[in-house]
Amino acid sequence: MGIIDGPCPLEQLFSKNDEYSTESSTQQSKTEKLVYDLFKTVKEKNSLKTIRLNRNSHIKYVTDGLKGLHRHWVVLDANKPWLCYWMLHVLDLLGHDITQELISRGVTTISKLQNVTGGFGGGPGQISHAAVTYAAVNTIAILGTKEAYDLIDRENLYKWFMKLKQPDGSFIMHEGGEVDIRCQAFDGGIGGEPGLEAHGGYAFCGLAAMEILGKTDLLDIPSLFRWASSLQMKLEGGFQGRPNKLVDGCYSFWVGALFPVLEAIMTRQQLKKNDANCKELDEYIAQPLFDREALQEYLLIACQNHKGGLIDKPKRSPDYYHTCYCLSGLSTSQHHVIYDFEKATSLNIEHGELNAGDRSLLWFEDETKILVLGDPSNIVNATHPIHNVAMPKVKKMVEYFREKPFSS
C-alpha cells in the first residue's frame, strides 16, 4: 500500500468537504496542502526509494539537549523524567551508544527525583506524580544497569501508588490531582474519563494497561479496532488523535502501537475459539493491521526537521516529545512485533498463570515482516509495543526484578 506509489493519484485523496466547509474542514485542507506539496515533489522526482532518515542530525539534536536546555524549556521543569526518557529512548531507537558517562549522569539525575514517601517527582523537591513515575521507571530501564535498577524503592512506591487509588477503581495522578480512568466511548475509542471524548493518547495508555492487567476481554475490541483504523489520514498517511482533528506525528506511536496489541488480542481470541488442536493463525488478523508504508511516508517526508529533531506536522518546530514519538511510530511500522502464543501456552502448562512481567517477555519480532521505506539504512531498533522501551532493555530489567520477588 502506501500513498505516493498507491493506485490513487494524490489529487484525488484530498478530503471532500461536501461543499459545506466549516472551521474543521478549512484547517484540514490547509494541512493537506502542506503535505501534498511535499509528497508531490517526491513523486515527481521519483525519490521515494532513496528517502533518508537523517539519523545523525536527530542524534545531535538529542545529545545537545542532554547537555543543557534553553530557558524557555522551563515549562517542562516539572517533567525532568519525561525529558530524560524521550531523549534516551531516541538514542536507543537510533542505535546510538549510551555511554557510561551518560548512564552515570542519568542515575544521579533520577536519584534526586525519588521521594522517601515513594514514587518520583518531576524535579528535585517535587511531589510524586504517577505519569512522571512511569517516565522515571522507563528511563531506569533504558539506563539498564544494576545501579539504576536498585534506585527504585519498590516498597514505598507500591504504598504510595495504592494511596492514589480511588473508590471507583481509578487512580489520581498525585495527591489533589486529576482523576485518570480509562473508559471506552460510544465510537469505540477510549477517553480520559467516563464520558470524555475518545483520544489516541488515552487509548494507548488504556489498552496497554488492560493488556498488562490481562483484562482486555472487558473491552469491545471490534469497535476499538474500527475507531483506531478510522484515525489514519488517507492523504497524509499519519494518524490524527481524534476524529475531525489534524494529523500529528506523535500519534504515529499512540495510535500506531494500538495495532500490534489489537493484533495480539484478536489472535488470542481467535485461538481460544478454534478447535483445541488448531494452532493455525488467521492471516487476516495476524499481521500489521494498518497502512505501514503510508505512515512511514508521512514520518520521513513530512516530519523531519532539516536541522535535526522530528515534528508534529510541516512548519512546526521540533521538540523532544515529538522526536521520541515520531521515531517510536517509525519503529512500530517497520517492525512486526508479536506475542508468542506458543511459548505462552507451554509456560502456562509448566508454571500456571503467568504474571504481567512474564507476559512482557513474550513479545518478540517476526523478522519475516520487516518493512523499511526508502533507504535500507532507515531501519531503527524495535520498540516494545506495551512499554515503548527497546526490546532488549525490557528483557534485562524484567529478568533482574524477577530474581528479587516482591511481596506487598
Binding site: K16, D18, S24, R71, D77, A78, L83, G177, F186, F225
Partner: protein, 287 residues
C-alpha cells in the same frame, strides 16, 4: 493580594538552591526571576509558612511554568484555606462560592463540598447558594450549549461527544421517542456533509443504546450512493447492516456485504484496506 511578589519583604528568607546533583542531564538554564522565586519557595516550604506572600509567590512561579503541578497543589490548598475564612464571614457572597467551585473543580475533589455546604446549611438552611451548589442540574443547559457548538461546526467531534454525554449520563434516562428524535437530528446533520464522520458515530451510538436497529439508516445510505455521493461512512454502515442480516441467515446480504467491503478496500477507502479485508473475511466466514 495586589502586590507583586518582589514588593514583599523577603529579608528574613534565605533562598534554598535546587539540588539536581552533579552534572545532571538536560539541565535547564532558568530565567533568574524563576530561580529566585523557586529559591524562596523551597525556603518557605521548609518552614511550612502559609501566608499572603507565599500565595503570591506560587502565582509568580505558575506564570513561568503553568505545568508545575507541585506548585499548583500548594497554591490551591492555600486558596481553599483563604476562602474558608472568607466564607465564614460572608456566607452570601456569589464570588466566593464561584471561586471555591473553580478551585474544587481544579482539585477534582468534591468530597469536601458536601460537608462544606452542610455546615453552611446548618447555620442557614435556606441559603440559596449552598443549595444551588449541591445540585447537578446542568443537563438542560448542557444540551443547548452543545447544539450551539454543533451549529457552529458540524465537524466538532468534541461537541458531538458532549451531546452523547449530556443525554446518556443524565440522571433522567432518555425515552425511546427522544432517542428517535436524536437519530433524526443526526441524520439531518449527516445530509449536510455525508463525509463528516462525527454524526455517523453519534447516530450509531444512539441506536446501540435504544431499541432501534441500524436498519433505520439503510435508506439514507442507499440514497446517498444513488445520488452519486460516495461516503465511506455510508458504505461502512451498509457493511454493518448486511453483516447483521447475514448472521440471521441471509445469503444475499452476505454477498452484498462482501462486495461492499471490496469496494471500500480497493476503491473508496484504500488507506483502511487491511481493516476492510478483515471485515470481508469475517462476513465470508459466516456459515
Amino acid at each position: 493580594r495586589a502586590m507583586p511578589f518582589e514588593n514583599y519583604d523577603w529579608s528574613d528568607v534565605v533562598p534554598i538552591e535546587q539540588d539536581d546533583g552533579p552534572d545532571p542531564l538536560a539541565q535547564i538554564a532558568y530565567d533568574p526571576e524563576y530561580s529566585k522565586a523557586m529559591g524562596y519557595f523551597r525556603a518557605l516550604s521548609q518552614k511550612n509558612e502559609h501566608s499572603e506572600r507565599a500565595l503570591t509567590l506560587t502565582e509568580k512561579i505558575i506564570e513561568h511554568n503553568p505545568a508545575h503541578y507541585t506548585i499548583w497543589y500548594v497554591h490551591l490548598n492555600e486558596e481553599l484555606d483563604f476562602i474558608q475564612k472568607q466564607v465564614e464571614q460572608n456566607p452570601k457572597n456569589y464570588q466566593l462560592w464561584h471561586h471555591r467551585q473553580v478551585i474544587v473543580e481544579k482539585l477534582k475533589d468534591c468530597s469536601l463540598e458536601l460537608s462544606f455546604t452542610e455546615e453552611v446549611l446548618n447555620d442557614d438552611s435556606k441559603n440559596y447558594h449552598a443549595w444551588t451548589y449541591r445540585t447537578f442540574n446542568l443537563w438542560d443547559n448542557e444540551l443547548t450549549f452543545v447544539e450551539k457548538l454543533i451549529e457552529k461546526d458540524i465537524r466538532n467531534n468534541s461537541a458531538w461527544n458532549q451531546r452523547y454525554f449530556a443525554i446518556f449520563h443524565n440522571p433522567t434516562k432518555p425515552s425511546e421517542e427522544f432517542l428517535w428524535e436524536e437519530v433524526q437530528y443526526g441524520i439531518s446533520k449527516i445530509k449536510l456533509a455525508p463525509n463528516n464522520i462525527s454524526p455517523w458515530n453519534y447516530v450509531k451510538g444512539v441506536i446501540a443504546k435504544s431499541k432501534l436497529k441500524l436498519d433505520v439508516l439503510e435508506e439514507l445510505c442507499k440514497s446517498l450512493y444513488q445520488q452519486g455521493i460516495i461516503s465511506p461512512h455510508a458504505l461502512g454502515c451498509l457493511v454493518d447492516i448486511y453483516e447483521d442480516r447475514a448472521k440471521c441467515g441471509s445469503i444475499n446480504e452476505k454477498e452484498l456485504g462482501i462486495q461492499t467491503c471490496v469496494l471500500l478496500a480497493e476503491q473508496h477507502d484504500i488507506i483502511r484496506q487491511k481493516y476492510w479485508n478483515y471485515r470481508k473475511h469475517v462476513l465470508a466466514s459466516i456459515a
